[in-house]
Amino acid sequence: MEKINRRDFLKFIGAGGIGAGAGLLYGESTRKTVELLIPQVVTPEDYSPGIATWYNTVCRLCSAGCGISVRTREGRAKKIEGNPNHPVNQGRLCALGQAGLNALYNPDRIRTPLRRTGDRGNFAPIDWDEALTLLGRRLGNLKIKKQGSSVYLLAGGLRGHIDTLFYTFMQALGSDHYLHYEFTHPAALYAANRMIFNQDILPYYDISNASYVLSFGADYLGTWLSPVHYSQAYGHLRQGRTDQRGKCVQIEPRMSLTGASADEWIACRPGSEGLLAMAMVHVIVNDGLYRGPDRNAWLEATGPYTPEAVAAQADVAADVITRLAHEFIRNQPGLAIGGGSAASHTNAAASLAAINVLNYLAGNLNTPGGVIFNPDPVSPASPVARQASYARLQEWIEAMAGGGVDVLITHAVNPVFTLPPAAGFTEALAKVPMVVSLSSFMDETTALADLVLPAHTYLEAWGDDMPEPGVGFPVATLSQPVVKPLYDTRDAGDIILSLAHQIGGELPVVLPWTRIEDYLKDSWKHIYGQRRITADSGGNFDEFWNAALAAGVWGENITREPLRFDGVAEDRIRALQVPPPAFAGEEKDHPFVLLPYLTQAFHDGRGANLPWLQELPDPLTSIVYGAWVEINPATAKRFGIREGDIVEVQTPSGSLRAPAFLYPAIRPDVIAMPIGQGHSQYGRYARGRGANPLEILSPLVDEASGALAWSATRAGIRKTGERAPLIKTDGVTRTLGRQILDDKPAHT
């Protein structure tokens, strides 16, 4: 080897030294920061590290009342699953229910009580004592002055003993003004059931054992009443039996999620569903498919509703009407149900009543696979009397506007968003001196409050639920906290109990409990006493209570006598008629009917603040993060509207703008919009996104039930010339011969 000269030698040493230094620095800079190992202070009793603890409770994201099991690790909620013990959902859960953790851990939750500063919409935090004293004093003063009736309490669909607590509280204050209001409340269905079946509570629709489901717009797989239960029943109806596969028919102006799964989808004119049902009743009686003693009464009542007469009104061929009527009777047990568009016109209750009659004629009442009347729910009685229709709420709005309401307390309800502005709720709210909200989120209604007493989310709260519709036997679900409360919020029940003690007088006498858990436990003594099965492992009350907590649900599925139904009274038969639907707006100015629809993710807008649901592609359009207007492709072509063109939808009550989507399965004379977006508040994921179709509805009402006829608004559309391409995940939605669905049809 040649000799190295000194310069090169120094270069080598330098290079080596710098390299080593660089290596050392690299090692230091990429070193993991020191991690600490934090032990418990006291050995925890209810969990071992690394092993999940499960808590059973109730999902409160819609009114179905599914039981859920929540997996927690080290005190944090990780995953919500269906509770396998629960008869409503039997271990299964829908998309909205799965997203519940986004509500618990939502970054925009209200974390402390708030008090208005300055104009409505501005808040400053206050502590609980101050807040409760403020409200308690005001309520106390009203009570002393015997003006307790100027206190109004509006809750979302509340059931179980928390509802009883609220009711007791209001009664002790001296107020009868306690109502529930939910946009999705099926007021027309309750009215129709009273009309035909004399039933005050919803029946059990036994889809699981049916051979035929004739649905007039009822989205039972997506949003109608109890979608998880019905989806499970649908699966069984299709492939759960070896000897038959049930058939599903869907009649509606726009294909819903359920319509997509139907064997036959029939596009009828909006509001004509009841007319079609009457025509089918006529066919069934006229063609001798029903031979009951009241045949002639039915024939007389449905005289004008021949298939030929109705065909023109409904835009459904007379022979199709006749065929469906025959099919329905021939494929019993079967069910006729109505919802969606059928339940949201000015003839809603009458339409649903006609649909009920189909079940009666088919003889499927109280038989497996048919419409089974539910027994009375477990105590307390179902608060159906408190569920307000739109018309009933109008009385409240008038009282508010007239200055008759001093304090309005709201809980789990957002009427500023779900009521059309034409109802005047927001203006009337301005006349109420004190608006209190118990909401966990800053929604549109809470933003206008004077005092916010944030309640726990459902995963942090105590309570119970008796599902409605029931499942055919008494069921009571317990709701318990699955995590310690995240913030300085309180259980809604505890808020009421604290107020009761604040106000004093007879209130703490009637409501002596200081903790909601105690109130609930004492209330369940009544359920314990009502049990018919006592010779089981129920044991004493404490054992019963602990068993119910562990299982999350208690039920008594024992065979009982099927409830009798003695037929429809003759005067009811004679009174049955379905008027044609009325619309707001004239056809020449507003050539389309605007059909807002509920989505399985957002329902009435409550799911819009959950990021997982904003990211969930709509099942029928694959659109995310926005709202859209669905137009029939042929209509769009006529107007020169392309997908993504922003159109202005104009109704007699207002207008909005949204991008257009060419939807293949909607009538050419109908446009549809999903409900749920268009929030002006409600957190970062919901705010300022899309448009709310409820904002431009005209306040027509179904007189028979008081329900808002939210499909009765006519609309015109106008191109604005602007574009906002829709964000969707779909590309081409045709198989184009690719063997994706393997189009060789199977034979049953």
Partner: protein, 179 residues
């Protein structure tokens, strides 16, 4: 005039050798940092001595680290577990007085984690303990340590070596350990 390829390359001989020395120096520096400059036995908030507790007093591992054979995490005993004995035993020692201080304030002791695997690794103590492995196999002679020290690298090749030697069922499948 042309030159051969070899001659052309030879002009870069010195810079190339400098680069090589530099890279070697870098690797050497990194390895020195990983070994000499890494503290495998950091000072803990309380100078807890395993030697005193295990060797001198005969306390078995699972008495304090009771979750090791039932859960994926071995766990460090809660403050209340320590106080179980030290409410009355050795209360005059300065380290025990530190412990009492934590207990009085109901504060957890912020131990520095000595044995740690990254978050993407699924390591379950229960499986290893129930397989019959003595704690000392991985943790070394803990009963002699006055200050707990990490004696194994806890890096993947070390895990894979043992899984291979002992013919662990599907032990070499990546998804056995990587989440």
């Amino acid at each position: 005039m042309s030159i051969s390829v070899r001659d052309a390359l030879l002009t870069f001989k010195t810079p190339a050798l400098i680069g090589l020395v530099g890279v070697t120096g870098f690797i050497a520096g990194y390895l020195i940092d990983m070994t000499i400059f890494t503290d495998t036995a950091p000072k803990q908030p309380i100078d807890f001595s395993h030697r005193i507790h295990v060797s001198d007093n005969g306390i078995p591992c699972l008495h304090c680290h009771n979750y090791a054979d039932t859960t994926p995490a071995a766990g460090v005993p809660s403050v209340s577990k320590c106080m179980g004995c030290h409410k009355t035993i050795a209360t005059d020692r300065p380290e025990v007085m530190k412990l009492a201080g934590y207990w009085e304030n109901q504060e957890p002791i912020p131990w520095i984690k000595v044995h740690d695997v990254p978050d993407f690794v699924y390591f379950t103590h229960k499986r290893h303990v129930l397989a019959g492995l003595e704690c000392q196999v991985c943790h070394g002679p803990v009963e002699t340590m006055d200050r707990i020290a990490r004696v194994s690298t806890l890096k993947m090749p070390w895990c894979v070596e043992c899984h291979t030697e002992r013919k662990v069922e599907h032990g070499r499948d990546c998804w056995t350990c990587h989440k």
